[in-house]
Amino acid sequence: MDNKVIVAKDLTKKFGNFTAVDHITFDVKQGEIFGFLGANGAGKTTAIKMLTGILSSTSGIAKVAGYDINKERNELKKNIGYMSQKFSLYEDLTLKENIRFYGGIYGLTKKQIVTKTGELIERLRLSHIENTLISEIPLGWKQKIAFSVAILHHPKIVFLDEPTSGVDPITRRQFWNLIYEAAEDGITVFVTTHYMDEAEYCDRISMMVQGKMKAIGSLHELLEKYNAKDMDEVFLKLAR
């Protein structure tokens, strides 16, 4: 059990009569890249909101990084990172200032912030724009910066909600390199996407259809099970 970062059992969220997430049960191992796939409106974002402690579940239980998502939110939040669909950096702050702010919010010491900032800027090779306002930095770079900021405090797990939507293929490739690096560092990555081709970058994949988790397994297992040549086909078969 120790190496499981997420354990969810019958996790459910209802909004009135509408069941957005319907009894999903799964777990995620440490260091894994876990792909959370599904069409728009399949319930991915709602599930992520529950797992990150900003939405209470209607029923079922889940533990993330060892903490109950409904009862131990504050401890939970210290141990996770999050990057949303909506852009999360402050446009009117510089790159460095954003790092400093989020570092401070996660309770890093001044010294830690300075080292982390140095590392991050060097790794992304951004020293020439470290004092540039985020609003003036191209979108592709912003995504990479947002991701790096999300794992600044070295969380046990990072949730990425459609991190690559609206980015060109080359940047997407580079972005995934960052995800691999993080996973090698021992950070579990939980990523949602509706690009089916990105599924092949993940260790394991789950497929959400209308609030239910229809399939879970490695790319290989799924392709075999559904006798498909790629994820698109798997998706079409499941959605039907």
Partner: protein, 369 residues
């Protein structure tokens, strides 16, 4: 604590980076204070008068020239007919008509009764009342002077009233208005800054990111509140300096009391802003609400028109208006030198409200989606 400092730093950077913000924060309020303080004066000057003189005597001419010589009146025309004057009122060219009847001179010399007639454009009721009052005084003085010069009466008033104007013997409106306008400006700024703040993070989307961080609700609200509190106190201080040095408004009371009250008051206003920010979805909605409350707070503060004049229900409503309390306090302390004991009720009301509204704002700010 450390987290709060990081939020404060961030807020300051964002405020000072906004191109429009600096002039709006550091020039506009003081320009308005310096300029607008001169506008708020109820003294009625330049009353445009038309004299209908049916007597056409040296005495009626004397009265007319006495009116003309007065500071309050501008004599527009003298003529025999009334209609001409009436048309001029209709066309907004004059404010009052004084009609001097036939035989005015004869009656006055014979110590007989005679009646003058005033017609006033009463759309502006205050001005009409004051104009009539001024005219009556001039006429009263005129008849006493005339009577005296003929030795007709001895002047004994019956009751001799002496008026003393305390706290502001020169009846300088600015003493009253400058501290009040300062309060309004500080309030509007505070309400605006705080009201637009959280909702802006909602609209831009950064709030989502903050929601998944381990930051506590109270840390968040305090972190947001502090920078504005500091700016508010700063604005107040500069404005106070303008009031004291430029307008020479006296300051009889204790500076400590004023600052203590100002800080609590600002926390209340900022709390109201935060509260608005938590219940709205867009900056536009937040602004409309903030604006709505500002206008009400301003016009019902007792600063421009007296609270005592309002109907009872409106007077009761002003009890919910924070500006009312602040205007009262700043006047009491600055102009009358009242001590803390005299403002303790106001202090209590503002403190309690500040606590309540901020708790509501904290409660209302959901870290959940």
């Amino acid at each position: 604590m450390q987290r709060i400092i990081y939020i404060v730093q961030k807020e300051f950077k964002q405020i000072f980076r906004n191109r429009m913000m600096k002039p709006m924060l550091f020039i506009m309020p003081f320009v308005q204070l310096a300029v607008l303080s001169y506008t708020a004066d109820f003294t009625v000057k330049d009353i445009r008068i038309y004299v209908q003189d049916q007597d056409m005597s040296p005495l009626s001419a004397k009265l007319t020239s006495k009116i003309k010589a007065s500071d309050n009146f501008t004599l527009k025309d003298v003529s025999y007919t009334y209609d001409e004057g009436f048309n001029k009122i209709q066309d907004n060219e004059i404010d009052v008509i004084l009609s001097i009847p036939e035989h005015f001179s004869r009656n006055l010399n014979a110590n007989r009764k005679t009646e003058l007639f005033i017609t006033a454009d009463a759309i502006n009721s205050t001005k009409a009342g004051i104009s009539i009052n001024y005219l009556q005084n001039i006429i009263h003085d005129f008849q006493i002077e005339e009577a005296q010069s003929k030795g007709l009466i001895e002047i004994k008033p019956g009751i001799n009233t002496i008026k003393r104007d305390w706290y502001n013997p020169g009846l300088d409106y600015k003493f009253f208005m400058v501290p009040g306008i300062l309060v309004l400006l500080v309030t509007m700024l505070a309400l605006f800054l705080s009201g637009m703040n959280i909702v802006r993070e909602k609209e831009v989307g950064t709030i989502e990111q903050l929601n998944v961080t381990p930051i506590r609700k109270y840390q968040f609200i305090i972190g947001k509140l502090l920078p504005f509190l500091i700016i508010g106190v700063f604005e107040f201080t500069v404005g106070l300096a303008v009031a004291l040095l430029w307008f020479k408004v006296p300051f009889l009371g204790s500076v400590g009391v004023i600052y203590m009250f100002t800080i609590v008051y600002l926390i209340l206003v900022l709390g109201i802003g935060m509260f608005i920010s938590t219940i709205t979805d867009t900056q536009q909605q937040a602004l409309f609400l903030a604006w709505f409350f500002s206008v009400i707070f301003i016009l019902m503060s007792g600063l421009f028109t007296p609270i005592e004049s309002m109907p009872q229900w409106a007077q009761d409503l002003t009890l919910l208006n924070p500006i009312r309390y602040y205007v009262e306090v700043i006047r009491l302390v600055m102009l009358k030198g009242s001590s803390f004991a005299s403002i303790k009720v106001n202090f209590l009301v503002i403190t309690l409200s500040a606590i309540i509204i901020n708790m509501l704002a904290i409660r209302n700010y959901k870290k959940t989606a």
